[in-house]
Symmetry: C2
Subunit: 161 residues, 2 copies
């Protein structure tokens, strides 16, 4: 069982996608997070659902929970409007501070993927071809085959017995 | 929109549940994590899927990734057997080190729940009745009504506009 056999499609957005659209995609699919890729399809970050919730809540409410109770529902309705038109990159740390999702090579074994996931405490691992630990061929960046989520990997590891 | 209206059922296991059964429940439902409750139904922890993966991988493989490649598939088949019969409590830190999931009162507003989730960076919030910030009535612990996940809360907040 190799990483290429375990990789699945996973909803992703680009750095330039609208945050509100990204939030709708995540909410509609009841996903714990979204994969963010750059313009060339290179994985940049995982955007957790709780972080999108945080973007919806005004800073003064997060700092003073008592204020949350007094903001009325009509005001809450307008929270989402604050996100409209802003790109996903606004929701991420600057590029040099981004924690990129761990990446496995297509030929890695299931146990290598599991060890990587365990070490990084990551809910998902990105599977690429033509990259991995080796220097990618000049001009040809590693190609993303898909994603392996922790519950999917568990399902396959448990199914083996 | 109050926390009681947002609360949903969510798969949970007890501290005494078999870890392997817990892993199967999580894998089958493709859940990012499981809620762990004590014998009285009190929320104790969220067990992330990546942590269950970590339990499957022998420590020497996590410390030395090169070993993961040389462990053959037949050996990998036996990984799950190491978990069978062990209780979920073995997968958690000792009680005084456990990070209990954040708890909202049934009467909290959606914005209070969002602020709590944002502050705690938690993928879910437990909703209880008869507890909250107040001292619970003697002998009557707060009753858990359900859970609000981040994508569900986003869905409801976005649906409002």
């Amino acid at each position: 069982m190799r990483a290429r056999d375990l990789a699945e499609e996973y909803p992703s957005v680009t750095l330039g996608s609208d945050i509100l659209e990204a939030a709708r995609l995540l909410a509609g699919g009841r996903l714990p997070g979204l994969l963010v890729v750059d313009e060339r399809g290179g994985p940049q970050a995982v955007l957790p659902a709780s972080h999108l919730v945080k973007l919806l809540v005004p800073g003064y409410v997060i700092e003073d929970p008592a204020l949350a109770r007094v903001v009325d529902e009509q005001h809450a309705d307008r929270l989402c409007q604050a996100l409209a038109g802003r790109p996903v990159s606004d929701a991420l740390p600057p590029e040099h501070d981004r924690h990129k999702p761990p990446t496995a090579d297509a030929e890695d074994t299931a146990l290598e993927v599991a060890a990587l996931m365990a070490r990084e405490r990551s809910p998902l691992v990105v599977v690429t071809e033509g990259g991995g630990d080796e220097v990618p061929a000049r001009g040809a960046p590693p190609r993303m085959l898909g994603v392996i989520t922790a519950p999917h990997l568990l399902d396959r590891l448990l199914g083996v017995t």
